[in-house]
Amino acid sequence: MIRINNLYKSFGPNKVLQGINLHIQNGETLAIIGQSGSGKSVLLKHMLGLIQPDRGSIIVAGVEISGSSEVELDNIRQKFGLLFQAAALFDSLTVAQNVSFGLERYRDLSRKELQKKVKESLAMVGLREVEQLMPYELSGGMKKRVGLARAIAYEPEIMLYDEPSTGIDPIRADAINELIIKMKQEFRITSVVITHDMTSAYKVADRIAMLYNGKIVTVGTPEELRKSDNQIVQQFIHGRAEGPIKEW
């Protein structure tokens, strides 16, 4: 579904991605783990063409992203739902207008159907009676969940979650894990989940990839990762300050 070949990206002197190779299969859930600042969000944004790579290619459903025109990109982006790390709600629009934003543009629905879909999507993330609120009236966790409702509302083929459980209480966080699993099982959605939460990664992911020093150091099933003899991986998944990763 998504094939990333030899991807490089720097911001000035800051070399963030240095040769990423990753293949995300149709219908799988891939978790990406890695230190804060290692470039996980940057990698995710490359998949939608929000950031242009310095070198390398990203192919989504057979289409090369970095050479595409804006019109082609519009078509590719329809396939994606993106949950932003900081929600990125439109602050001049109500919750309902936020959630229906993609729906209005990607699907041809009547006003009634639109309202129904908004209600359903909000219910899926455990929110009710918030349609007429403005984003500044929401708590941080609520914003995150509205952001999630906005992304799943138009039923994309590929969901990208940037730290879906960060800033949310443990019960709600697990409900979101369940939602990710449900989306995969019921709608056969391909998912990429960025997370720091190993419990969540083990629970939702078919495979886990670890990003370190601008490269993917390992990809494997949760089982394979646990048994990995790579010390970097072991240090990270067990959350130890001691080990080969020194800079933190």
Partner: protein, 261 residues
């Protein structure tokens, strides 16, 4: 790619001109792309047009008054007592061709151009621009096109409105100074040409596009927090004001005396 450091500012200016040109080109192309963002367009018409009325009323009124004042004393002093009524056509010409378009342009740049840069800039740094892309709303089509069209339409309308206010205030000033109202009016109408007014309105339309494109450009390239938004806002006002003043001179120079009407 290593140019001598002396030419560095020149290269920077060239690069920025390129950026603005590119944005302008993409905006024109996007005007014809669907879906149209009608709701935002109407909001912007109100924001640029209706909400600017108080400011434009005031500036046009005092612009008209002060211009009438100096013209009155000019005639009074140099041509002679009784010739003041001949100031009418001069005031009208100056107001409709130059003063009101410039005043309205600068006022709208301050009011609307800054707001555009601040709003779009805040959206940029809070990833709302990325969110627009991801939800199928190209920011150029969704943000820049409605703003540019609204300015293109509203700045000339505001200018026409300002023309009327300015001319009326000049008239009242002269009348209050004891000038014969019939003679003043007749002189004004005798020499007033549609082409002069139209020339001013065309310039105003161009200023409107400048304001929207510069404001959007600064907003879209905003980087780095609240400070960045502040900088983008200031730059939007300063750059568009300078462009308006410089462009005004060259447009006036290029315009045929009265557009052949």
């Amino acid at each position: 790619m290593t140019l001598p450091t002396k030419s560095f500012p020149f290269r920077l200016i060239l690069q920025q001109v390129g950026e603005v040109g590119l944005l302008f080109g993409r905006t024109i192309v996007s005007v014809f792309r669907k879906p149209r963002e009608t709701k935002i367009f109407i909001q912007q018409l109100e924001e640029v047009g209706v909400r600017s009325l108080p400011v434009v009323s005031l500036t046009a009124a005092f612009g008209g008054l002060v211009f009438a004042l100096q013209t009155y004393f000019g005639f009074h002093r140099y041509i002679g007592i009784g010739s003041e009524a001949y100031g009418g056509p001069i005031v009208t010409l100056g107001l409709t061709k130059e003063i009101i378009p410039i005043l309205v342009g600068l006022m709208v740049a301050g009011r609307v151009g800054s707001a555009m840069a601040a709003e779009i800039g805040t959206m940029k740094i809070t990833e709302q621009i990325d969110a627009l892309y991801s939800l199928g709303a190209d920011p150029i089509r969704y943000l820049v096109v409605p703003r540019t069209l609204a300015c293109l339409i509203m700045v000339p309308i505001l200018t026409l409105y300002g023309d009327i206010i300015g001319i009326l205030c000049a008239y009242f000033f002269n009348v209050s100074m004891g000038v014969n109202r019939v003679v003043y009016m007749r002189n004004t109408l005798l020499y007033l040409e549609l082409g002069d007014v139209l020339g001013g309105l065309i310039k105003a339309g161009i200023f409107g596009v400048v304001i929207a494109i510069i404001g959007s450009w600064q907003g879209l390239k905003t980087e780095g927090g609240a400070e960045g938004v502040g900088r983008a806002t200031t730059k939007a006002v300063v750059i568009s004001s300078i462009i308006i003043l410089v462009l005004n001179f060259f447009l006036s120079k290029a315009m045929p005396e009265s557009l052949g009407i």
